[in-house]
């Protein structure tokens, strides 16, 4: 056995430990396999499913590249999580023959994306913009998870693309692969008393979405089925302080949107705004912080664009909003059917193309 701790020792030569390496290897293999199987079963029991691909910049980039390649039906959805969870792409296809490219991002302000499409001379399609008032009319750009995605999709390296595809393959078979249920995320979910006014990370948003191919996203079934998770999700959207949004920020939002709408319309495209349902304390907070007259009505007036606000349509009210911000899977189908029906009737860009298709 060599001596240790001496600088003159040749540390490039390491002795193989005298132990039963083969037996150890088998033991590690069996224990890890058993552990992973047990973990997988535990994760499935709380509502994670294989085939939930988890959202990411890479997942978004795949969809964005379809637009660059011209491989889409000229309808794009942008927005925050509400329009993302509340839009059913199959219903769109069934009703219009067009399957939108879903580019909405959870916890992200869609205005940079609206501006990006306005600056894209090749985009002449229909842009459906989901408006979540406390995000759209503010200056906050969004959560770090999707930061920089507008450049990422162009700069994504070959290794990142391959890594994403490899991750997708595993996610189709393993339920536990979910960024909200990693070991570190689970440790952060332990509720311990904190100093002062600290509420995070316990009141961070936990898993709320379930994503499949084409970024078809739904409110996670765990929120619908588990009362504790649903209550936690409601609290995570807080605090519901009702502080009025900054008037200057609202003005900036409306001006940016108006400039973008003008550019897109000038080359034959169209932009519509959709305000998805919210409920409970979240909705009440929005009535105080971003009242309709100062935000939504102003947006439509300054852009001249068509808008669908769930408050105005009986078929869009009274839907199931389990955690106050996103529709249940079943209600998302109903909401999509309702708002696409309105778009198909009242938005000339879409109605004329549907008539042409029916007449063909």
């Amino acid at each position: 056995m060599s001596n240790s701790g001496k600088w003159t020792e040749d540390v490039t030569v390491r002795e193989i430990p005298t132990t039963r390496l083969v037996a150890m290897g088998w033991l590690v293999f069996l224990l890890v396999t058993a552990g992973v199987i047990a973990w997988e079963l535990q994760m499935r029991s709380i509502g994670l499913v294989a085939g939930d691909l988890d959202d990411s910049k890479a997942h978004w980039a795949v969809e964005r590249r379809k637009i660059a390649a011209g491989d889409y039906d000229d309808v794009v959805v942008i927005g925050s999580s509400r329009i993302l969870f509340d839009t059913n792409l199959d219903v769109w296809k069934e009703m219009t023959g067009r399957r939108p490219i879903q580019l909405a991002l959870a916890g992200t302000n869609p205005r940079p994306f609206l501006t990006d499409f306005a600056a894209n001379p090749d985009f002449k399609g229909l842009l459906v913009v989901g408006v979540t008032p406390d995000i759209f009319f503010g200056d906050w750009l969004g959560i770090g998870l999707f930061a920089g995605v507008l450049d990422y999709w162009k700069d994504q390296s070959p290794s990142e693309r391959f890594g994403h595809q490899a991750g997708l393959f595993l996610s189709r078979h393993l339920a536990f692969l979910d960024s909200s249920y990693t070991l570190t995320a689970l440790v952060d979910q332990v509720n311990l008393p904190n100093r002062g006014e600290i509420v995070r990370p316990y009141l961070d948003v936990w898993k709320v979405w379930e994503t499949t191919d084409d970024r078809q996203t739904f409110l996670w079934r765990g929120i619908e089925d588990n009362e504790h998770l649903r209550e936690h999700a409601r609290l995570a959207w807080g605090p519901f302080a009702g502080k009025p949004m900054d008037e200057a920020a609202i003005a900036r939002a409306c001006k940016e949107a108006a400039d973008a709408v003008k550019k897109i319309r000038a080359r034959g495209g169209e932009v519509v705004f959709v305000r998805s349902p919210s409920a409970g304390l979240y909705y009440e907070n929005e009535l105080h912080s971003a009242p309709r007259a100062r935000t939504w009505d102003r947006l439509l007036k300054e852009t001249g664009a068509f808008g669908i606000n769930f408050e105005d349509y009986p078929g869009m009210r009274g839907l199931d909003v389990p955690e106050w911000s996103h529709l249940s899977r079943e209600s998302a189908v109903k909401f999509t059917r309702a708002y696409v029906g309105v778009l198909a009737q009242d938005v000339p860009w879409l109605s004329s193309r549907l008539r042409a298709k029916d007449g063909a």
Partner: protein, 108 residues
């Protein structure tokens, strides 16, 4: 003791490495030495526990291994115990995951 002193001094110098300005560095150092009496707490208890456990484990491991080599320790430990520890570490790596985009973590 010298080891702990080195660790403490490195913690102080990290501040200058990461702070954007000397003013920021001064504020952080004030907080570190307990002079920021008006500051509001920002670190959650779970974060302090995680960091405390990890740092204590790393420092303790470094201390225990200061006059040993890993091969010596493995040779003297029952194979099943070493296997158990390796399995626990590998299992922790798997369930800690990483993002799908960082599945293969290297950049071309």
């Amino acid at each position: 003791m010298l080891g702990l002193l080195t660790y403490a001094l490195v913690n102080v110098t990290w501040v200058f490495f990461r702070a954007h300005t000397f003013g920021d560095a001064a504020r952080i150092l004030q907080g570190m030495f307990g002079f920021a009496t008006d500051a509001e707490p920002v670190l959650a208890t779970i974060y302090m526990i995680k960091v405390g456990v990890l740092v204590a484990s790393i420092v303790a491991t470094q201390w225990l291994m200061r006059e040993r080599e890993l091969e010596q320790v493995v040779s003297r430990t029952p194979w099943w115990l070493t296997g158990l520890v390796c399995a626990a570490m590998l299992f922790a790596v798997i369930v800690t995951q990483g993002s799908a985009t960082a599945f293969i973590y290297f950049q071309f």
